[in-house]
Symmetry: C2
Subunit: 225 residues, 2 copies
């Protein structure tokens, strides 16, 4: 039988209470914008003028080495907040993985709100801590897990974040590889192996629509803890 946990507490960046959707609109001007697939939302080292929340779509945040090697630090999905910086500049480049609509908020407004509202200030700390926890987990993955373990961990993460065993991946194999510190071929081989082991199958006629058939067995591939 198939068991699913519904615990959503670890969902990263879900912060409707940051002021994006619930704050008095009299205080905050809330606009939105749509980016086509592949378009850059902001670049590394650019001034951090806005904070974003995803209404629809998916975003990748990454850094590059001088020779083009890329490390994706996080994928941002529906409702996730991203682009918040404590300092002046962005530390990542953010791009739309697919067509993506975001809510925008001026960082300066958020800062001033935080100065007067201790609750918002605490939320900024909570949000940063959530990002830190994600990065800490990812360091363990990148430093010490094998290819199959990384791919399993990725699928488990996507399963948890979408809250469904029908995982629709917006990103391609190269994006996944650059998130997991692998090559796209190694990711492909790992997914194939999980398919042949009966852990997952594909839906429709694309390899991006994945059905987790056996979450317990999948978790057995990831030695977390």
């Amino acid at each position: 039988m198939f068991v699913r946990t519904t615990d959503q507490r670890l969902q990263p960046n879900r912060l409707g209470d940051l002021g994006f959707t619930s704050a008095p609109t009299s205080m905050v001007k809330l606009s939105e914008f749509t980016y086509r697939k592949g378009k850059e939302i902001f670049g590394e080292k650019e001034p951090a003028e806005y904070v974003y929340q995803i209404k629809r779509g998916a975003v990748r945040s990454y850094r590059l080495l001088s020779d083009g090697r890329r490390q994706i630090g996080a994928f941002h999905l529906k409702d996730d907040v991203f682009g918040f910086e404590n300092g002046e500049n962005h530390r990542f480049t953010a791009e739309a993985v697919i067509e993506t609509t975001v809510y925008l908020m001026k960082r300066a407004s958020l800062q001033s709100m935080a100065d007067t509202d201790a609750a918002i200030s605490r939320n900024l700390l909570t949000m940063t801590t959530t990002n830190l926890e994600h990065a800490e987990n990812h360091m363990l993955l990148l430093g010490r897990k094998t290819a199959i373990e990384r791919v399993a961990a990725f699928l488990i993460e996507m399963d948890r974040r979408t809250g469904s065993n029908n995982v629709s991946l917006p990103m391609n194999r190269r994006d996944i590889a650059d998130y997991l510190g692998l090559t796209l071929e190694t990711v492909s081989r790992a997914v194939s192996r999980l398919y042949y082991e009966g852990v997952l199958s594909f839906r429709g006629n694309t390899q991006r629509e994945i059905v987790i058939l056996d979450l317990i067995k999948l978790q057995g591939f990831d030695p977390q803890g």
Copy 2:
């Protein structure tokens, strides 16, 4: 000639202004404690009762996989603050790398101080952001850098943090390896190579006392940026 930057702004966790050393002692009870080499200061998932600042010594923070694979997330050196958690429990195990004396402060005291003092609250956010930036840099290293690049980056980091080209490493090769996502043999080979390339030499009769002879050349091994 040998060039050195004196920019210390990125020094992680240096927070004398957190209340550890400069706050009115009438408000805060400040005690200290000494741990012998190898002793655990706190364990993963334990309640986060105290926040620590290093008076003397060095500390490693790490997480384990079930089969014993270890990822060290950070080394904490003199003046660094560590063990601060926004949540209830520690997310890492912390151990003294060598004999280490720390200042202790009750987390609850810090929390209550933050509630009344916005400056302290901002410092907590800044500290968490500093940790996040370090983790982000480390993800790039673990995901996309080669062995020699990782070791070079590590030596550059230690050089910067100690503010001296005479780097005295408190940790052994295994610790370095577990920080860099490598094996101790690979670290040893990389250090040897840098020695034979004239980038560094050793001081005294131990391999832990390293002299950076050519920081520019060393930086050439690390493709950061």
